[in-house]
Protein backbone atom coordinates (compact mmCIF):
# COMPACT_ATOMS: atom_id res chain seq x y z
CA UNK A 1 0.00 0.00 0.00
CA UNK A 2 1.28 3.48 -0.79
CA UNK A 3 0.70 6.72 1.01
CA UNK A 4 -1.88 9.33 0.06
CA UNK A 5 -1.34 10.93 -3.38
CA UNK A 6 0.50 14.25 -3.44
CA UNK A 7 -1.94 17.15 -3.25
CA UNK A 8 -0.02 19.81 -5.12
CA UNK A 9 2.93 20.66 -7.31
CA UNK A 10 6.30 19.32 -6.26
CA UNK A 11 8.77 21.83 -4.90
CA UNK A 12 12.10 22.35 -6.61
CA UNK A 13 15.64 23.51 -5.87
CA UNK A 14 16.59 27.03 -4.89
CA UNK A 15 13.12 28.50 -4.70
CA UNK A 16 12.74 32.19 -4.15
CA UNK A 17 10.08 31.76 -1.46
CA UNK A 18 12.32 29.50 0.62
CA UNK A 19 15.29 31.88 0.36
CA UNK A 20 12.96 34.74 1.28
CA UNK A 21 11.80 32.78 4.32
CA UNK A 22 15.38 32.48 5.53
CA UNK A 23 15.97 36.18 4.84
CA UNK A 24 12.83 37.20 6.74
CA UNK A 25 14.01 35.20 9.73
CA UNK A 26 17.33 37.03 9.65
CA UNK A 27 15.69 40.44 9.28
CA UNK A 28 13.32 39.84 12.19
CA UNK A 29 16.18 38.59 14.34
CA UNK A 30 18.29 41.55 13.32
CA UNK A 31 15.71 43.87 14.87
CA UNK A 32 16.72 42.49 18.26
CA UNK A 33 20.50 42.97 17.96
CA UNK A 34 21.17 45.61 15.30
CA UNK A 35 22.65 48.10 17.71
CA UNK A 36 25.55 45.94 18.84
CA UNK A 37 26.28 44.74 15.31
CA UNK A 38 26.20 48.26 13.95
CA UNK A 39 28.68 49.46 16.55
CA UNK A 40 31.10 46.56 16.06
CA UNK A 41 30.87 46.64 12.26
CA UNK A 42 31.53 50.35 11.95
CA UNK A 43 33.73 51.28 14.88
CA UNK A 44 36.50 48.75 14.25
CA UNK A 45 37.28 49.71 10.65
CA UNK A 46 36.93 53.34 11.60
CA UNK A 47 39.59 52.89 14.25
CA UNK A 48 41.85 51.27 11.65
CA UNK A 49 41.16 54.20 9.35
CA UNK A 50 41.98 56.78 11.99
CA UNK A 51 45.03 54.92 13.29
CA UNK A 52 46.57 54.26 9.89
CA UNK A 53 45.25 57.37 8.19
CA UNK A 54 46.51 59.81 10.77
CA UNK A 55 49.33 57.70 12.18
CA UNK A 56 51.02 56.89 8.90
CA UNK A 57 49.44 59.92 7.29
CA UNK A 58 51.75 62.14 9.32
CA UNK A 59 54.73 60.25 7.81
CA UNK A 60 53.45 59.74 4.28
CA UNK A 61 52.14 62.65 2.26
CA UNK A 62 50.87 60.98 -0.93
CA UNK A 63 50.46 57.42 -2.16
CA UNK A 64 49.75 56.78 -5.84
CA UNK A 65 48.85 60.43 -6.20
CA UNK A 66 46.31 60.37 -3.36
CA UNK A 67 46.39 61.87 0.10
CA UNK A 68 47.10 59.02 2.49
CA UNK A 69 43.74 59.50 4.26
CA UNK A 70 42.01 59.15 0.90
CA UNK A 71 44.10 56.09 0.08
CA UNK A 72 43.34 54.37 3.38
CA UNK A 73 39.76 55.64 3.61
CA UNK A 74 38.83 53.93 0.37
CA UNK A 75 40.94 50.84 1.10
CA UNK A 76 39.45 50.28 4.54
CA UNK A 77 36.04 49.76 2.95
CA UNK A 78 37.27 46.33 1.85
CA UNK A 79 38.45 45.49 5.37
CA UNK A 80 35.10 46.55 6.80
CA UNK A 81 33.25 44.43 4.25
CA UNK A 82 35.38 41.39 4.96
CA UNK A 83 35.11 41.69 8.74
CA UNK A 84 31.34 42.26 8.56
CA UNK A 85 30.86 39.18 6.43
CA UNK A 86 33.41 36.50 7.23
CA UNK A 87 33.26 36.73 11.03
CA UNK A 88 29.48 37.02 11.05
CA UNK A 89 28.99 33.80 9.14
CA UNK A 90 31.93 31.92 10.64
CA UNK A 91 30.73 32.34 14.20
CA UNK A 92 27.06 32.86 13.46
CA UNK A 93 26.46 29.72 11.45
CA UNK A 94 28.53 27.61 13.81
CA UNK A 95 26.52 28.79 16.82
CA UNK A 96 23.21 28.36 15.03
CA UNK A 97 24.14 24.87 13.96
CA UNK A 98 25.84 23.49 17.05
CA UNK A 99 24.33 25.38 20.00
CA UNK A 100 21.03 26.96 19.05
CA UNK A 101 20.10 24.12 16.64
CA UNK A 102 18.31 26.74 14.56
CA UNK A 103 19.12 24.98 11.30
CA UNK A 104 17.45 21.76 12.43
CA UNK A 105 14.21 23.71 12.85
CA UNK A 106 14.54 25.47 9.49
CA UNK A 107 15.42 22.28 7.61
CA UNK A 108 12.33 20.59 9.05
CA UNK A 109 10.34 23.19 7.09
CA UNK A 110 10.30 23.06 3.27
CA UNK A 111 13.74 24.62 2.98
CA UNK A 112 16.86 22.77 1.87
CA UNK A 113 20.52 23.38 2.64
CA UNK A 114 21.13 25.23 -0.62
CA UNK A 115 18.33 27.70 0.14
CA UNK A 116 19.38 28.02 3.76
CA UNK A 117 23.00 28.86 2.93
CA UNK A 118 21.98 31.17 0.10
CA UNK A 119 19.58 33.10 2.32
CA UNK A 120 22.14 33.45 5.10
CA UNK A 121 24.88 34.59 2.73
CA UNK A 122 22.68 37.07 0.87
CA UNK A 123 21.64 38.69 4.11
CA UNK A 124 25.17 38.99 5.46
CA UNK A 125 26.41 40.31 2.09
CA UNK A 126 23.70 42.98 2.13
CA UNK A 127 24.72 44.00 5.64
CA UNK A 128 28.38 44.06 4.62
CA UNK A 129 27.54 46.27 1.65
CA UNK A 130 25.90 48.80 3.95
CA UNK A 131 28.39 48.67 6.83
CA UNK A 132 31.31 48.73 4.42
CA UNK A 133 30.53 52.33 3.54
CA UNK A 134 31.22 53.50 7.11
CA UNK A 135 34.95 54.17 6.56
CA UNK A 136 34.10 56.11 3.43
CA UNK A 137 31.73 58.36 5.37
CA UNK A 138 34.35 58.89 8.09
CA UNK A 139 37.01 59.66 5.48
CA UNK A 140 34.67 62.29 4.03
CA UNK A 141 34.65 64.00 7.39
CA UNK A 142 38.43 64.22 7.08
CA UNK A 143 38.63 65.55 3.57
CA UNK A 144 37.67 62.83 1.10
CA UNK A 145 35.62 64.47 -1.65
CA UNK A 146 32.31 62.74 -2.41
CA UNK A 147 31.77 61.57 -5.97
CA UNK A 148 28.93 59.92 -7.90
CA UNK A 149 31.01 56.82 -8.41
CA UNK A 150 30.87 56.17 -4.67
CA UNK A 151 27.27 55.11 -5.12
CA UNK A 152 28.74 51.90 -6.54
CA UNK A 153 30.50 51.12 -3.26
CA UNK A 154 27.56 49.30 -1.57
CA UNK A 155 27.10 46.95 -4.56
CA UNK A 156 30.86 46.32 -4.63
CA UNK A 157 30.67 45.59 -0.89
CA UNK A 158 27.74 43.26 -1.53
CA UNK A 159 29.58 41.22 -4.16
CA UNK A 160 32.71 41.02 -2.02
CA UNK A 161 30.68 40.27 1.09
CA UNK A 162 28.86 37.46 -0.67
CA UNK A 163 32.15 35.67 -1.31
CA UNK A 164 33.53 36.23 2.18
CA UNK A 165 30.25 35.32 3.86
CA UNK A 166 30.26 32.09 1.87
CA UNK A 167 33.87 31.52 2.91
CA UNK A 168 32.79 31.95 6.55
CA UNK A 169 29.98 29.42 6.13
CA UNK A 170 32.46 27.03 4.52
CA UNK A 171 34.92 27.33 7.39
CA UNK A 172 32.15 26.89 9.97
CA UNK A 173 31.06 23.74 8.17
CA UNK A 174 34.60 22.34 7.96
CA UNK A 175 35.87 22.99 11.48
CA UNK A 176 34.55 20.95 14.37
CA UNK A 177 35.41 23.35 17.18
CA UNK A 178 34.88 27.07 17.48
CA UNK A 179 38.37 27.26 19.05
CA UNK A 180 39.89 26.32 15.70
CA UNK A 181 38.61 29.52 14.12
CA UNK A 182 41.69 31.32 15.45
CA UNK A 183 43.80 29.31 12.97
CA UNK A 184 41.77 30.68 10.10
CA UNK A 185 41.96 34.20 11.47
CA UNK A 186 45.74 34.04 11.82
CA UNK A 187 46.61 32.07 8.71
CA UNK A 188 44.04 33.37 6.23
CA UNK A 189 42.19 36.49 7.31
CA UNK A 190 45.09 38.55 8.66
CA UNK A 191 47.43 38.06 5.66
CA UNK A 192 44.54 38.65 3.28
CA UNK A 193 43.59 41.97 4.76
CA UNK A 194 47.18 43.15 5.13
CA UNK A 195 48.22 42.25 1.58
CA UNK A 196 45.29 43.74 -0.30
CA UNK A 197 46.62 47.19 -1.06
CA UNK A 198 44.57 48.68 1.75
CA UNK A 199 47.28 50.36 3.80
CA UNK A 200 50.15 50.31 1.29
CA UNK A 201 50.30 49.64 -2.44
CA UNK A 202 51.35 46.22 -3.64
CA UNK A 203 53.92 47.80 -6.01
CA UNK A 204 56.53 47.96 -3.29
CA UNK A 205 56.28 44.27 -2.40
CA UNK A 206 58.49 41.50 -3.86
CA UNK A 207 57.26 40.28 -7.23
CA UNK A 208 55.92 36.98 -5.89
CA UNK A 209 53.86 38.87 -3.31
CA UNK A 210 52.47 41.13 -6.02
CA UNK A 211 51.43 38.10 -8.04
CA UNK A 212 49.90 36.49 -4.96
CA UNK A 213 48.09 39.73 -4.22
CA UNK A 214 46.20 39.48 -7.50
CA UNK A 215 44.70 36.21 -6.27
CA UNK A 216 43.49 37.96 -3.14
CA UNK A 217 39.78 38.77 -3.57
CA UNK A 218 40.10 41.67 -1.19
CA UNK A 219 42.66 43.33 -3.48
CA UNK A 220 40.03 43.44 -6.25
CA UNK A 221 37.55 45.02 -3.85
CA UNK A 222 40.11 47.64 -2.78
CA UNK A 223 40.88 48.52 -6.40
CA UNK A 224 37.22 48.77 -7.34
CA UNK A 225 36.38 51.02 -4.41
CA UNK A 226 39.30 53.35 -5.20
CA UNK A 227 38.32 53.49 -8.83
CA UNK A 228 34.69 54.14 -7.89
CA UNK A 229 35.85 57.07 -5.76
CA UNK A 230 38.53 58.52 -8.04
CA UNK A 231 37.69 57.33 -11.55
CA UNK A 232 36.83 54.08 -13.29
CA UNK A 233 39.44 52.11 -15.21
CA UNK A 234 37.26 50.46 -17.86
CA UNK A 235 38.04 46.84 -18.61
CA UNK A 236 40.45 46.60 -15.71
CA UNK A 237 37.52 47.16 -13.38
CA UNK A 238 35.45 44.62 -15.31
CA UNK A 239 38.26 42.18 -14.55
CA UNK A 240 38.09 43.06 -10.84
CA UNK A 241 34.33 42.50 -10.83
CA UNK A 242 34.84 39.20 -12.63
CA UNK A 243 37.38 38.06 -10.06
CA UNK A 244 34.97 38.85 -7.22
CA UNK A 245 32.11 37.08 -8.98
CA UNK A 246 34.22 33.96 -9.51
CA UNK A 247 35.37 34.03 -5.89
CA UNK A 248 31.76 34.41 -4.72
CA UNK A 249 30.41 31.66 -6.95
CA UNK A 250 33.11 29.16 -5.96
CA UNK A 251 32.80 29.89 -2.24
CA UNK A 252 28.98 29.76 -2.41
CA UNK A 253 28.96 26.29 -3.97
CA UNK A 254 31.66 25.01 -1.59
CA UNK A 255 29.74 26.41 1.39
CA UNK A 256 26.57 24.62 0.28
CA UNK A 257 28.41 21.37 -0.32
CA UNK A 258 30.15 21.33 3.06
CA UNK A 259 27.08 22.54 4.94
CA UNK A 260 25.02 19.75 3.44
CA UNK A 261 27.64 17.25 4.58
CA UNK A 262 27.49 18.74 8.07
CA UNK A 263 23.72 19.19 8.43
CA UNK A 264 22.38 16.06 6.78
CA UNK A 265 23.37 12.73 8.37
Amino acid sequence: MTTAPPPGPRLHRLERSAVMGVLVREVINFSSYWRSVTVSSTVEPTIYLLAFGFGFGSLVAKVQGLDYVEFVGTGTVATAVMFASVFTTMFGTFVKREYQRTYDAILAAPVDTEELVTGEVLWVAARAGVYGTAPLVVAMLFGLDPSWGMLAVPPIGFITGFGWASFGVLIAAILKSIDHFSYVTSIVITPVFLVAGTYFPLDGLPEWAQVAGHFNPLYHCVQLVRHAAFGWHGWTDAGHVGALLVFGAVMWRLAIWRSRERLID
Binding site: P6, R10, G21, A105
Partner: protein, 298 residues
Protein backbone atom coordinates in the same frame (compact mmCIF):
# COMPACT_ATOMS: atom_id res chain seq x y z
CA UNK B 1 -7.93 0.84 5.78
CA UNK B 2 -7.44 4.61 5.25
CA UNK B 3 -4.58 5.78 3.04
CA UNK B 4 -1.22 6.00 4.73
CA UNK B 5 0.38 9.22 5.86
CA UNK B 6 3.72 7.50 6.44
CA UNK B 7 5.15 4.26 5.13
CA UNK B 8 8.61 2.96 6.00
CA UNK B 9 9.75 -0.35 4.61
CA UNK B 10 13.03 -2.07 5.46
CA UNK B 11 14.65 1.20 6.47
CA UNK B 12 18.22 0.97 7.71
CA UNK B 13 20.51 3.72 8.95
CA UNK B 14 24.04 3.31 10.26
CA UNK B 15 26.57 5.71 11.69
CA UNK B 16 29.89 3.99 11.17
CA UNK B 17 29.70 0.74 13.08
CA UNK B 18 26.57 1.81 14.95
CA UNK B 19 23.30 0.53 13.52
CA UNK B 20 20.74 3.16 14.56
CA UNK B 21 17.78 1.81 12.57
CA UNK B 22 17.81 -1.77 11.37
CA UNK B 23 15.20 -2.78 8.81
CA UNK B 24 12.35 -0.73 10.24
CA UNK B 25 8.82 -1.22 8.92
CA UNK B 26 6.30 1.36 10.09
CA UNK B 27 2.98 2.71 8.87
CA UNK B 28 0.88 5.64 10.02
CA UNK B 29 -2.66 5.56 8.56
CA UNK B 30 -4.05 9.02 7.82
CA UNK B 31 -5.99 10.56 10.67
CA UNK B 32 -4.47 8.35 13.36
CA UNK B 33 -1.96 8.90 16.12
CA UNK B 34 0.85 6.37 16.22
CA UNK B 35 3.12 6.20 19.24
CA UNK B 36 6.72 5.23 18.67
CA UNK B 37 7.73 3.71 21.96
CA UNK B 38 11.25 2.84 22.96
CA UNK B 39 14.09 3.58 25.35
CA UNK B 40 16.93 5.99 24.61
CA UNK B 41 19.01 4.69 21.73
CA UNK B 42 16.18 2.63 20.22
CA UNK B 43 16.31 4.64 16.99
CA UNK B 44 13.25 6.86 17.49
CA UNK B 45 14.97 10.19 16.91
CA UNK B 46 16.90 8.86 13.92
CA UNK B 47 13.59 7.70 12.45
CA UNK B 48 12.15 11.18 12.99
CA UNK B 49 15.18 12.76 11.29
CA UNK B 50 14.81 10.44 8.32
CA UNK B 51 11.19 11.52 7.93
CA UNK B 52 12.35 15.12 7.44
CA UNK B 53 15.32 14.02 5.27
CA UNK B 54 17.76 15.37 7.84
CA UNK B 55 19.12 11.84 7.88
CA UNK B 56 19.31 9.78 4.71
CA UNK B 57 18.68 6.03 5.03
CA UNK B 58 21.28 3.58 3.77
CA UNK B 59 18.56 1.21 2.57
CA UNK B 60 14.78 0.87 2.46
CA UNK B 61 11.85 2.98 1.32
CA UNK B 62 10.26 6.00 2.94
CA UNK B 63 7.07 7.58 1.68
CA UNK B 64 5.34 10.53 3.33
CA UNK B 65 1.97 11.83 2.13
CA UNK B 66 2.59 10.44 -1.34
CA UNK B 67 6.13 11.77 -1.65
CA UNK B 68 9.16 9.48 -1.86
CA UNK B 69 12.00 10.49 0.42
CA UNK B 70 14.64 11.78 0.34
CA UNK B 71 14.13 12.97 -3.27
CA UNK B 72 10.77 14.66 -2.69
CA UNK B 73 11.27 15.50 0.96
CA UNK B 74 10.78 19.23 0.50
CA UNK B 75 7.30 18.71 -0.88
CA UNK B 76 6.53 16.35 2.00
CA UNK B 77 7.85 18.83 4.58
CA UNK B 78 5.51 21.49 3.23
CA UNK B 79 2.61 19.30 4.35
CA UNK B 80 3.89 18.32 7.76
CA UNK B 81 4.77 20.02 11.01
CA UNK B 82 7.59 19.01 13.32
CA UNK B 83 7.73 19.38 17.09
CA UNK B 84 11.36 18.70 18.01
CA UNK B 85 12.56 17.34 21.31
CA UNK B 86 14.96 20.24 21.84
CA UNK B 87 13.38 23.62 21.84
CA UNK B 88 15.22 25.35 18.92
CA UNK B 89 13.21 28.55 19.20
CA UNK B 90 14.59 32.01 18.49
CA UNK B 91 14.85 33.06 22.11
CA UNK B 92 15.37 36.78 21.56
CA UNK B 93 12.20 37.06 19.48
CA UNK B 94 8.66 37.30 20.77
CA UNK B 95 6.13 34.49 20.57
CA UNK B 96 4.42 36.18 17.64
CA UNK B 97 7.67 36.86 15.78
CA UNK B 98 8.63 33.19 16.05
CA UNK B 99 5.36 32.26 14.41
CA UNK B 100 5.64 34.94 11.74
CA UNK B 101 9.05 33.56 10.73
CA UNK B 102 7.52 30.16 10.14
CA UNK B 103 4.60 31.53 8.16
CA UNK B 104 7.26 32.64 5.69
CA UNK B 105 9.25 29.40 5.83
CA UNK B 106 6.04 27.46 5.19
CA UNK B 107 5.13 29.77 2.27
CA UNK B 108 1.79 30.91 3.67
CA UNK B 109 0.33 33.60 1.42
CA UNK B 110 0.78 37.18 2.56
CA UNK B 111 -2.98 37.71 2.94
CA UNK B 112 -3.32 34.62 5.13
CA UNK B 113 -0.32 35.07 7.44
CA UNK B 114 -2.10 37.15 10.07
CA UNK B 115 -4.95 34.67 10.38
CA UNK B 116 -2.50 31.75 10.51
CA UNK B 117 -0.60 33.32 13.40
CA UNK B 118 -3.80 34.11 15.30
CA UNK B 119 -5.06 30.57 14.81
CA UNK B 120 -1.78 29.04 16.04
CA UNK B 121 -1.74 31.38 19.05
CA UNK B 122 -5.28 30.30 19.84
CA UNK B 123 -4.52 26.59 19.56
CA UNK B 124 -1.57 26.90 21.91
CA UNK B 125 -3.41 29.29 24.22
CA UNK B 126 -0.64 31.86 23.90
CA UNK B 127 -2.60 34.84 22.57
CA UNK B 128 -2.00 36.86 25.72
CA UNK B 129 1.73 36.13 25.50
CA UNK B 130 2.17 37.16 21.89
CA UNK B 131 4.53 40.01 22.73
CA UNK B 132 6.57 38.11 25.31
CA UNK B 133 10.13 37.23 24.40
CA UNK B 134 10.68 33.49 24.28
CA UNK B 135 13.46 33.60 26.87
CA UNK B 136 10.86 34.93 29.35
CA UNK B 137 8.48 31.98 28.84
CA UNK B 138 8.15 28.96 31.11
CA UNK B 139 9.14 25.51 29.84
CA UNK B 140 5.51 24.56 29.27
CA UNK B 141 4.77 27.71 27.29
CA UNK B 142 7.83 27.15 25.14
CA UNK B 143 6.65 23.64 24.38
CA UNK B 144 3.21 24.97 23.49
CA UNK B 145 4.85 27.50 21.20
CA UNK B 146 6.78 24.69 19.50
CA UNK B 147 3.49 22.95 18.83
CA UNK B 148 1.90 26.18 17.59
CA UNK B 149 4.86 26.71 15.28
CA UNK B 150 4.42 23.22 13.85
CA UNK B 151 0.73 23.88 13.22
CA UNK B 152 0.93 27.36 11.74
CA UNK B 153 0.43 26.08 8.17
CA UNK B 154 -2.33 23.55 8.98
CA UNK B 155 -0.23 20.43 8.33
CA UNK B 156 -1.81 17.10 7.46
CA UNK B 157 0.84 15.28 9.46
CA UNK B 158 2.67 16.22 12.66
CA UNK B 159 5.85 14.58 13.89
CA UNK B 160 6.39 14.94 17.62
CA UNK B 161 9.68 13.88 19.14
CA UNK B 162 9.19 13.36 22.87
CA UNK B 163 6.65 16.20 23.14
CA UNK B 164 6.39 16.24 26.93
CA UNK B 165 9.86 15.20 28.03
CA UNK B 166 11.07 17.19 31.02
CA UNK B 167 7.70 18.82 31.74
CA UNK B 168 5.90 18.68 35.05
CA UNK B 169 2.69 16.61 35.26
CA UNK B 170 0.29 19.55 35.02
CA UNK B 171 1.92 20.94 31.89
CA UNK B 172 2.05 17.44 30.44
CA UNK B 173 -1.73 17.23 30.81
CA UNK B 174 -2.10 20.52 28.92
CA UNK B 175 0.07 19.25 26.07
CA UNK B 176 -1.87 15.99 25.98
CA UNK B 177 -5.14 17.90 25.66
CA UNK B 178 -3.64 19.83 22.76
CA UNK B 179 -2.48 16.67 20.99
CA UNK B 180 -5.83 15.03 21.63
CA UNK B 181 -7.63 17.97 20.02
CA UNK B 182 -5.39 17.69 16.97
CA UNK B 183 -6.10 14.01 16.69
CA UNK B 184 -9.83 14.61 16.83
CA UNK B 185 -9.46 17.10 13.96
CA UNK B 186 -8.10 14.30 11.79
CA UNK B 187 -4.45 15.35 11.74
CA UNK B 188 -2.11 12.36 11.40
CA UNK B 189 0.42 12.20 14.22
CA UNK B 190 3.60 10.22 14.73
CA UNK B 191 4.76 10.73 18.29
CA UNK B 192 7.92 9.26 19.73
CA UNK B 193 7.88 8.89 23.48
CA UNK B 194 9.29 6.87 26.28
CA UNK B 195 6.37 7.67 28.57
CA UNK B 196 4.07 4.66 28.66
CA UNK B 197 1.12 6.64 29.93
CA UNK B 198 1.48 9.11 27.09
CA UNK B 199 1.36 6.37 24.49
CA UNK B 200 -1.60 4.69 26.20
CA UNK B 201 -3.55 7.93 26.47
CA UNK B 202 -2.93 9.37 23.02
CA UNK B 203 -1.94 6.72 20.53
CA UNK B 204 -4.40 4.73 18.43
CA UNK B 205 -1.63 2.24 17.81
CA UNK B 206 1.89 1.91 19.14
CA UNK B 207 5.06 0.58 17.58
CA UNK B 208 7.58 -0.68 20.09
CA UNK B 209 11.17 -0.11 18.96
CA UNK B 210 14.27 -1.78 20.29
CA UNK B 211 17.76 -1.67 18.83
CA UNK B 212 16.49 0.03 15.68
CA UNK B 213 13.75 -2.49 14.91
CA UNK B 214 10.00 -2.57 15.41
CA UNK B 215 9.49 -5.49 17.79
CA UNK B 216 5.71 -5.10 18.08
CA UNK B 217 2.97 -2.94 16.62
CA UNK B 218 -0.74 -2.65 17.24
CA UNK B 219 -3.52 -1.26 19.40
CA UNK B 220 -2.28 -0.96 23.02
CA UNK B 221 -5.03 -3.17 24.53
CA UNK B 222 -4.46 -5.85 21.92
CA UNK B 223 -0.71 -5.80 22.44
CA UNK B 224 -1.20 -6.06 26.20
CA UNK B 225 -3.62 -8.97 25.90
CA UNK B 226 -1.43 -10.72 23.34
CA UNK B 227 1.86 -10.44 25.20
CA UNK B 228 0.97 -10.16 28.89
CA UNK B 229 -2.62 -11.35 29.38
CA UNK B 230 -5.27 -9.42 31.24
CA UNK B 231 -3.69 -9.32 34.68
CA UNK B 232 -0.32 -9.36 36.33
CA UNK B 233 0.67 -10.31 39.85
CA UNK B 234 3.08 -8.00 41.57
CA UNK B 235 5.11 -9.58 44.37
CA UNK B 236 7.07 -7.39 46.76
CA UNK B 237 9.83 -8.45 49.09
CA UNK B 238 13.55 -8.51 49.79
CA UNK B 239 15.86 -9.41 46.89
CA UNK B 240 16.32 -13.02 47.97
CA UNK B 241 12.56 -13.54 48.14
CA UNK B 242 12.04 -11.94 44.73
CA UNK B 243 14.66 -14.20 43.17
CA UNK B 244 12.91 -17.20 44.68
CA UNK B 245 9.49 -16.06 43.37
CA UNK B 246 10.93 -15.34 39.95
CA UNK B 247 12.50 -18.78 39.64
CA UNK B 248 9.31 -20.45 40.83
CA UNK B 249 7.13 -18.49 38.40
CA UNK B 250 9.35 -19.29 35.46
CA UNK B 251 9.21 -22.96 36.42
CA UNK B 252 5.43 -22.94 35.96
CA UNK B 253 5.65 -21.18 32.57
CA UNK B 254 5.08 -17.55 33.58
CA UNK B 255 6.99 -14.61 32.12
CA UNK B 256 8.44 -12.28 34.72
CA UNK B 257 9.48 -8.70 34.87
CA UNK B 258 11.86 -7.52 37.57
CA UNK B 259 11.85 -3.95 38.88
CA UNK B 260 13.81 -2.59 41.84
CA UNK B 261 11.40 -3.57 44.59
CA UNK B 262 9.13 -6.13 43.04
CA UNK B 263 8.74 -8.84 40.47
CA UNK B 264 5.73 -8.86 38.12
CA UNK B 265 4.36 -12.21 36.99
CA UNK B 266 2.82 -12.08 33.51
CA UNK B 267 0.80 -14.31 31.19
CA UNK B 268 -1.06 -15.88 34.09
CA UNK B 269 -3.14 -17.93 31.64
CA UNK B 270 -0.01 -19.94 30.79
CA UNK B 271 0.57 -21.08 34.40
CA UNK B 272 0.97 -24.84 34.76
CA UNK B 273 0.81 -24.64 38.56
CA UNK B 274 -0.44 -22.37 41.35
CA UNK B 275 0.45 -18.72 40.88
CA UNK B 276 2.39 -17.25 43.85
CA UNK B 277 0.30 -14.84 45.95
CA UNK B 278 0.73 -11.11 45.38
CA UNK B 279 -1.01 -7.91 44.39
CA UNK B 280 -3.13 -8.34 41.24
CA UNK B 281 -3.27 -5.44 38.80
CA UNK B 282 -4.19 -5.01 35.12
CA UNK B 283 -1.31 -5.74 32.78
CA UNK B 284 -0.08 -2.62 31.00
CA UNK B 285 1.94 -1.41 28.07
CA UNK B 286 5.05 -1.08 30.19
CA UNK B 287 4.88 -4.81 30.87
CA UNK B 288 4.71 -5.40 27.12
CA UNK B 289 7.64 -3.15 26.50
CA UNK B 290 9.88 -4.68 29.14
CA UNK B 291 8.90 -8.18 28.09
CA UNK B 292 9.74 -7.54 24.45
CA UNK B 293 12.85 -5.47 24.83
CA UNK B 294 14.29 -6.57 28.13
CA UNK B 295 14.80 -2.92 28.98
CA UNK B 296 13.15 -0.83 31.65
CA UNK B 297 11.76 2.50 30.50
CA UNK B 298 13.18 5.36 32.52
Amino acid sequence: MPPLAIRLHGVRKTYGALVAVDGLDLVVPEGTCVGLLGPNGAGKSTTMRMLTAQAIPDAGEIEVLGHRLPGQSKSARALMGVVPQLDKLDTTLTVEQNLVVFTHLYRIRRTERRAAVERALGIANLADRRDTRVDKLSGGMRRRLLIARALVHRPRLVLMDEPTVGLDPQVRQEIWALIDALRSEGVSILMSTHYIEEAERLADTVTVMSHGRAVAAGVPDVLIAEHCGAEAVEVYGPPARLAEVEAGAQAIGLRTRRTGTSVALLRLQDATGPVPPGERRPANLEDVFVLLTGEEIT
